[in-house]
């Protein structure tokens, strides 16, 4: 009788890594590696806006203030919505071979159901945690979203967790046209909440690693050693928007106003 062993998951712990660098790394690992990866980044260096793959700045951002305050805007390779992240944000990304997670079908709802139950373990005992529509919430206040990319045999699910946030930063984001039903037309400050009100930072990180460890055999990998895991060229979709693009967006907003 053979004993089935848990599949291997490489764990990369980062701290304060710029989100653009983190996203480049994730895209590289998704496309050019065949291993499973869990990346945890404890905060990013500067406040940065991160939009989903098809995000349009004129629709999602208050472009004027963004340009004036020189906030970097990134378009990431996964779908989903727009966030503004900073040093207090916690990032957790999971890249998996679909065959290593056989209970998960490679489409969004299935991936979300799996991640929802994984974080359910992390937040066990914390009142009100659930995956609601596509968001991680306490009660009906969102503290983390959901973004994925699904390619042939692999998928990535990553989240930026709102540990704490600066209300002023939220002002750079417009109310998106597509919102979950439970949002009920609340604006940002009444719709989101701070994770720090519910769990200790180190607690969250360790419990997340432990929850992932319940399904995978974890191995810590240093950033310097990544090259040996991901070789060859790959499509690079994640990028920083140029000033020209932002100015164009502002012009188009002004036209349609």
């Amino acid at each position: 009788m053979s004993i089935s062993r848990a599949p291997l998951m490489n764990l990369v712990r980062l701290k304060g890594t710029p989100i653009l660098e983190q996203l480049h790394l994730e895209e590289r690992l998704l496309r050019a590696s065949t291993d499973n990866w869990c990346i945890v980044n404890d905060g990013t260096n500067v406040p940065t806006i991160v939009m989903g793959m098809s995000g349009k700045p004129s629709q999602l951002l208050e472009v004027g203030p963004v340009i004036k305050d020189r906030i970097p805007v990134i378009k990431r390779f996964t779908g989903g919505g727009t966030v503004i992240v900073d040093k207090s944000t916690l990032f957790v990304s999971l890249i998996c071979n679909k065959d290593d997670v056989p209970s998960v079908q490679p489409y969004p709802r299935s991936v979300m159901a799996w991640s929802g139950s994984l974080y359910g373990e992390v937040f066990e005992g914390v009142d009100g945690f659930q995956l609601r529509e596509n968001d991680y919430v306490f009660g009906d206040r969102k503290f983390g979203g959901n973004a994925q990319s699904i390619i042939r045999n692999r998928w990535i699910h990553h989240t930026s967790f709102l540990w704490d946030y600066n209300v002023r930063n939220m002002a750079y984001l417009k109310l998106p046209s597509k919102v979950p039903q439970y949002r009920l037309e609340r604006d940002h400050t009444e719709f989101v909440c701070r994770m720090k009100d519910y769990i200790e930072r180190s607690d969250f990180v360790e419990k997340t690693v432990k929850a992932v460890g319940n399904q995978f055999a974890m191995k810590e990998v240093n950033l310097e050693d990544i090259d040996s895991y991901a070789k060859g060229e790959h499509v690079k979709s994640t990028r920083l928007l140029t000033m020209e693009e932002l100015q164009e967006a502002m012009a188009s907003t002004a036209q349609s106003a």
Binding site: S54, G79, P106, P108, S149, K178, Q181
Partner: protein, 450 residues
């Protein structure tokens, strides 16, 4: 019989994930590698083709099926429509982000063709077959409905493309004899025109295009549907395009999507109707209440406070709840338990221009009348401006619905789940009453429905 059953089940399943049906597949149908695993792929795909061929129709292609595939030629090679397959329950459309191939490119099996985005995920769509890109139907930025063709591939080996295996019933035969190349490639048209044709139930490939390069235009589709209507004596359709020559545009239906509170309200009220309701109606003599309100008004020192009946009624309710705690309970359907709530968090239904909302006043048992009045005023103000916080609208233990405020005698309220009681208050009216000796006296009364 079987085909009909399958058709029915297909129509039921169409908007939902294909993983809900399991049956042995007849032959592995076309599917994108990135989507549901083989065992969740139902047999409705091959059976759909079975149906299509049973119909005996000429190239009526199904644009709706999860992984519909059509073969237009039984000669050595063939063309395959690659549709946007189901990406998950309820996802009806995706945005096309980019192509990895262009027309004329060779493709290998499992080679990525394009990337699409649904709400939360970017998804790569890979080719099931080896072949060549014949026709790209959409441009980046287009919104594509599930089931619509993304790209047409020319495959060399017809065995690859053949959908149904040889052990299916004998009425399966490729129908098209010798299609011309332009028919094979399919009608040239924009996605909007294709959608119109689909809505009208028309196979766009049967429509003669009057546009450039034989492009099918909107007018062509409309004209075709008009001809079809004349020829076939079909049941009257309620599609306005087909109804007669001149369509009146001045009395059109207007679709109002429900949003916000209204949307939430529909859902919660629908759930409430599933609960058995018991109604009790009584008339309450409110003379004393009227006097009290008058007294407060006369002796009001704070101009920001406006005195109404409601705070007193709220406080009275709280005092009654102290005597009858079961009425201040919450029912847990799963465990069949009633939780007797310690706090009296009395909800007050408010009609705002954004919809019906029920904020509640917390811990009424510990509040004075003045405190209740102030809190009511605060909640009313927030509700009117659509600024209620989740804290304000959750945690209620019983609800008051003040129908009287808008002028009714009677209301028939629905429970605000998971509460177990709701009280509708009618308007306070002065009515004549009879004493024992037959003389008439006025009384202020209020109809109350619990």
């Amino acid at each position: 019989m079987i085909a009909r059953r399958i058709w029915r089940s297909h129509r039921f399943l169409r908007p939902f994930s294909s993983s809900s049906v399991c049956a042995p597949p007849l032959l592995a149908p076309y599917h994108s590698q990135s989507f549901a695993s083989p065992k969740s792929r139902p047999f409705l795909v091959p059976c759909l083709s079975l149906m299509k061929w049973c119909e005996g129709g000429g190239g009526s292609r199904s644009w709706f099926s999860n992984e519909a595939m059509s073969i237009d030629s039984d000669a050595g090679g063939g063309f395959i429509d690659v549709p946007l397959a189901q990406t998950g329950e309820g996802i009806a459309e995706c945005e096309l982000l980019k192509w990895f191939v262009k027309e004329g490119d060779p493709v290998e099996e499992f080679q990525p063709l394009c990337e699409v985005q649904s709400d939360k995920a970017t998804i790569e769509i890979t080719s099931r077959f080896k072949g060549k890109v014949a026709l790209i139907s959409h441009a980046p930025g287009d919104i594509i409905k599930v089931g619509e063709t993304l790209v047409k591939l020319a495959v060399e080996d017809s065995h690859d493309a053949l959908l149904v295996s040889s052990d299916t019933p004998g009425n399966v035969e490729p129908i098209c004899s010798q299609p011309k190349l332009d028919t094979l490639v399919g009608a040239l048209s924009t996605p909007a025109v294709r959608t119109l044709a689909k809505d009208l139930g028309i196979d766009i490939n049967l429509v003669t295009g009057s546009g450039k390069d034989g492009r099918v235009l909107k007018e062509d589709v409309l004209q075709f549907s008009g001809q079809k209507q004349n020829v076939t004596d079909s049941a009257p359709s309620d599609n306005p395009f087909i109804r007669g020559d001149s369509v009146s545009t001045s009395f059109e239906d207007q679709i109002v999507p429900l949003r916000g509170f209204n949307r939430a309200m529909v859902k919660t009220m629908t759930m409430a109707t599933k609960v058995p309701h018991f109604h009790f109606v009584e008339e309450i003599n409110c003379d004393a209440l009227v006097k009290l309100k008058h007294f407060f008004k006369e002796h009001n020192t704070d101009s920001t406070v406006k005195h109404t009946f409601l705070p007193t009624l709220i406080k009275s309710l709280s005092m009654a709840l102290t005597k009858y705690p079961y009425v201040n309970g919450c029912f847990n359907e799963e465990s069949l338990e009633i939780i007797l709530k310690g706090s009296h968090n009395i909800g007050v239904a408010m009609a705002t221009e954004h919809g019906l909302v029920v904020p509640n006043i917390k811990n009424v048992q510990s509040l004075s009348l003045l405190e209740i009045t102030r809190e009511m005023s605060r909640l009313q103000h927030l509700a009117t401006n659509n600024k209620l916080s989740p804290e304000d609208v959750t945690g209620g233990t019983i609800t008051l619905s003040n129908i009287g405020a808008i002028g009714g005698k009677f209301g028939s309220p629905l429970l605000n789940l998971p509460e177990v009681a709701i009280i509708a208050l009618g308007r306070i009216e002065k009515v004549p009453k009879f004493k024992e000796d037959g003389s008439v006296y006025p009384a202020s009364t209020m109809m109350v429905r619990i």
